[in-house]
């Protein structure tokens, strides 16, 4: 096991949006997270780096209420909260764009954007208000500069970048104050990745959203994030302002870790 290194804790800039302390999560006998802490402020973007199996996605799924931690506390806007369901986390303004893209291919763009938050017509029958959802979806996409002219299209017909943009737009239009992104640039060409980065930066510039991004690519992450956090084997092993570190330094920490593991 890794002893967490004593690093000077960089403090977030704006008012604190989300903070987790001592998060532990076990799946059977496997300890996926062994006491992880993190915090992010409004208008700030935190990058979480680490290898497969480091516990990044598990941490994210705890912050969205999808998994429940075995130990640890979570504070949302300074208030202690128990995120026992996805709906609870959403009600607190926490939205996640998952790695596996939580979109349904056979449904239209606007149905996907309103999935489980459908607008209903007034009246006793609780019928879907397709027209209102269509119009609001168009507005939401235009609002964050995503250019998709027809929201009736099935999501399965869109490119990977368009799908990612829809997923981000869905999270944002539902008034997310804390946006969690799980590998938003994975499996994406340079041009599409550029469009998504531009979209994320527009959101950051609004100043009211705290963004947490999980990623593999050190250079990309240091480029777009204010702060970065390195996770290894279920622990946070390094934390820094993006401007004060480099891909080379992060790589060196990972390399040192591997040497220790091999007993070298």
């Amino acid at each position: 096991m890794t002893a967490p290194q004593a690093q000077p804790q960089p403090q977030p800039r704006g008012p604190e949006a989300l903070r987790a302390e001592g998060i532990v999560k076990r799946f059977g006998s496997v300890e996926a997270l062994g006491g992880v802490g993190m915090q992010v402020a409004a208008g700030e973007m935190l990058g979480i780096l680490g290898d497969n199996g480091a516990g990044k996605s598990t941490l994210l799924k705890i912050l969205t209420g999808f998994h429940q931690p075995d130990a640890g506390t979570i504070y949302v806007h300074g208030q202690h909260q128990t995120l026992n369901t996805v709906d609870r986390a959403r009600a607190l303004g926490i939205e996640c764009v998952y790695q596996d893209l939580a979109l349904v291919n056979g449904l239209s763009i606007y149905h996907n954007m309103f999935l489980n938050r459908e607008l209903l017509k007034p009246g006793p029958f609780r019928l879907l208000d397709h027209r209102a959802m269509r119009e609001r979806a168009m507005d939401a996409l235009a609002d964050i500069g995503v250019n998709i002219p027809n929201v009736n299209l099935e999501v399965g017909r869109l490119s990977g970048g368009q799908r990612q943009a829809i997923a981000v737009a869905r999270a944002v239009h539902s008034d997310a104050k804390i946006l969690l992104l799980d590998e938003p640039l994975a499996a994406m060409g340079a041009r599409e990745a550029g469009q998504i980065i531009a979209l994320i930066e527009r959101l950051k510039a609004r100043g009211d959203i705290a963004i947490v991004m999980i990623a593999h690519n050190y250079a990309q992450t240091l480029e777009v994030c204010d702060r970065v956090m390195l996770m290894q084997h279920g622990s946070v092993t390094y934390e820094s302002h993006a401007a004060e570190t480099s891909p080379a330094e992060l790589l060196e920490i990972v390399r040192r870790e591997y040497r220790e593991m091999r007993g070298g």
């Binding site: 349904v104 291919n105 999935l115 489980n116 017909r157």
Partner: protein
């Protein structure tokens, strides 16, 4: 064998579409091709068997079509969320006997029907709970239920048919009048179409079958959706059996069964519902059931024997599936 998707086609359509584009879109809908087949079959049989479009024959046809269509309404919901109910034909046979027992125990006819439907709903609930919470594939759960309910029906009936209770207007409404069962089928189609296309339940059913992980991550309770659709299917199956009992005036413990269940599933599949889940249409199920009915009725009028009929139905299902998968590629939608 080419399974690749054409990325060039993935571009967005303009928001205002021309009449031609709308017609093309309509023609590519899964229901459209089977509707076309139905029209062609009507013309063919009217020309070759000259008593096809007569009142007597249409009544026969409507009675043949009604039951598979009602069962299809449930099976389509289940197929969309990647489940199936093989036991619905058994519930179909059980329900009239529960109704008869309840009536003989002193309940009025309507009360007896409600009691029977509650039992059917409970069957659906049990199927759903076993499938969802004990992780038994619904194919197996309902295969078990198939034999179990057959045994229960034979036991409580002691193997004898039962007379249908009641008389007069109520019986006419519930299936006694020639077209009553078909009108019930149309009403249930309309209801389930609205449920599928215009309620959260329908949308969440499609999401559950299309991408269960995505649906769960969006906060949809996919277990609840599946269990609910099992309950809907069993209840519709039981109601259909009751309608049939009122039409015929008595019920045989071996009524319904796998034949009526497979006709229901076939109606849905021919109508364009994907067996792999995530897509389907109730209207398509209605048209699919009508096509099956026209085939059976038309060939009967022509004097083709029953063995031949099964060959034709089998071929029709295969052709419909091939057509659906090919058309799905043209719509740019992967068939899963």
């Amino acid at each position: 064998m080419q399974q690749r998707n054409d990325p060039a086609r993935a571009g967005a359509l303009p928001p205002r579409r021309s009449v031609a584009a709308r017609l093309t879109e309509l023609a590519l809908r899964p229901e459209a091709s089977v509707f076309f087949v139905a029209v062609v079959l009507v013309i063919y049989f009217e020309l070759t068997a000259n008593n096809f479009l007569t009142d007597a024959n249409l009544q026969t046809l409507s009675q043949f079509v009604a039951a598979p269509v009602i069962l299809a309404c449930g099976e389509i919901m289940l197929l969309i969320c990647r489940e199936i109910d093989l036991s619905v034909g058994q519930v179909f046979a059980l329900a009239p006997f529960i109704m008869e027992k309840a009536y003989n125990a002193g309940l009025p006819v309507v009360g007896a029907i409600v009691a029977a439907l509650i039992v059917c709903a409970m069957v659906g609930l049990v199927i759903g709970l076993i499938t969802v919470h004990l992780n038994v594939p619904s194919f197996i759960t309902t295969l078990g239920m198939f034999f179990l309910i057959t045994g229960i029906t034979l036991t409580i009936s002691r193997g004898f048919p039962a007379d249908t209770p009641g008389n007069g207007l109520l019986n006419a409404i519930l299936g006694g009048w020639g077209y009553a069962e078909f009108l019930w089928a149309l009403a249930l189609v309309a209801l389930m179409h609205v449920v599928l296309r215009h309620t959260r339940w329908g949308l969440h059913t499609i999401a559950t079958g299309g991408n269960a992980i995505a649906a769960a991550e969006a906060g949809i309770n996919i277990d609840r959706i599946k269990i609910g659709n099992f309950i809907i299917t069993s209840t519709l199956g039981g109601f259909c059996g009751i309608l049939e009992a009122f039409r015929i005036g008595s019920t045989d413990p071996l009524a319904g069964g796998s034949n009526i269940m497979f006709l229901g599933v076939a109606s849905g599949v021919i109508g364009g519902t994907a067996i792999a889940g995530g897509a389907g249409t109730i209207i398509g199920g209605l048209i699919g059931g009508i096509v099956l009915g026209i085939l059976q009725d038309g060939f009967t009028l022509q004097g083709i024997n029953a063995f031949m009929f099964d060959i034709i139905i089998g071929g029709a299902i295969l052709l419909a599936m091939i057509a659906n998968i090919q058309l799905a590629r043209h719509r740019g939608m992967r068939p899963q």
